[in-house]
Amino acid sequence: MNNRHAILKCTDISKSYGNQTILSDVSVELAKGEIKVLIGPSGGGKSTLLQCINCLVVPDSGEITMEGQRIDLSRKQDLYRLRQQVGMIFQDFNLFDHLTALDNITIALRKVKKLNKVEAKERALLELDQVGLADKASLYPAQLSGGQKQRVAIARALAMDPKILLLDEPTSALDPTLIGEVIAVIKGLAVKGMTMIMATHQISLISNIADEILFMEKGRIVEHGTPAMLLGCGNDSRSQTFCDKLNDLSATEG
């Protein structure tokens, strides 16, 4: 474990729905600039863990500490402030259907961060430009391709200057031909030093930018380590087996 200062500390997070346990005493830490990737079979709890970090799903038990400050899970104000500092990218994009690409970004800047119209517009155009979509600013979500929608979603999250970015299978809902543009943007963020934790099936993200891989199954982290440790040649790890399956799949999909 490196000594870098941890921005996010989640300790013993548990969540159940009825008598189905989704997460079982999961602990995760993120240091500034670190990138962790969650992999594993469906239903393993990756999505729920991410949604517990920004409390879209409130954990049944466990502690979340952000920059040394413990989050009071029962105080709504704490939760709102937490979410302003943590950005989230969804598998289904969740762009606001009634707003243009530009307004999708400005609305949070104006209503949550309280910027004025001019500042918000400037910042929004900047972010759109960064993801290569400045010319699509006045289009509505229905008029954008999947890849474009996800890039707008990323711009929307980044405009809030988040300390951490959570990515929940960002490319899983995309046509294979559109995945590349989104991966390029995510890789760009990694280069710039964005702290990220993401759930994904994309091999190139797993092996190229991850600082640490976390293999989740049945609500627990059953294996973790650097890509070098887990994914070397002739490695016998669960992660290796899983990644081999992913490789096979992407080979057949062509």
Partner: protein, 221 residues
Amino acid sequence: MELSPFYQELLTSLNRGVIMSVALIVPSAVGGVLIGILAGAIRTFGGRVGRTVGDGYAAVFRGTPLVVQLFVLYFGLPNLGIYFSPYAAAVTGFTLCSGAYQSEYVRGALLSIKRGQYLGAQALGFTTFKTIFWIIVPQAIRRAIHGCGNEIIYLIKYSSLAFIVTCIELTGEGKTIATEYFRFTEVFSIIGLYYLVLVSLAMLILKKIEKGLAIPGFGHQ
């Protein structure tokens, strides 16, 4: 062209009646929409008690004829010592009945908003109130406008029942004159035309509003 005395009297009465019709329709439409929004929201977001009350209100006022509701308000409540004027009974009845149908459209619109929209807003740090006000409501309005608009058009037609509680509007005036001169076909054909004009006008306005609010790719159910 000089109109015969009959037609002069007819048109004077009918025009008087139309004014009363409009005086009935406008408050009832506004009231109905407001109640519909309130009841629809409670029926969608409320707790168990709220939803039961809201659903019960809608079931009663959608499951019984408007005529019965008018009779209860104007002829029945006096048994309890509550007296409505004809106009008040008519507007109250129309508002409550229309509100029940409106709540159905509002509820449908609110339920049709994808859960992801809530998640997206929450993830950005929106409070619950801000999420509903800036993200959910703008979308719900566009989904509801067609149903709610059509309901107002129904209201225009059902305002013709006001004569049953002795509030004389367009239909009531016509009934009086037609009975007096026994010229039902002419009188009620003309009354029919009056309503067709009102309804067609309302439909045009609704179309204009729907066009103005339309967002590319954002269909209505």
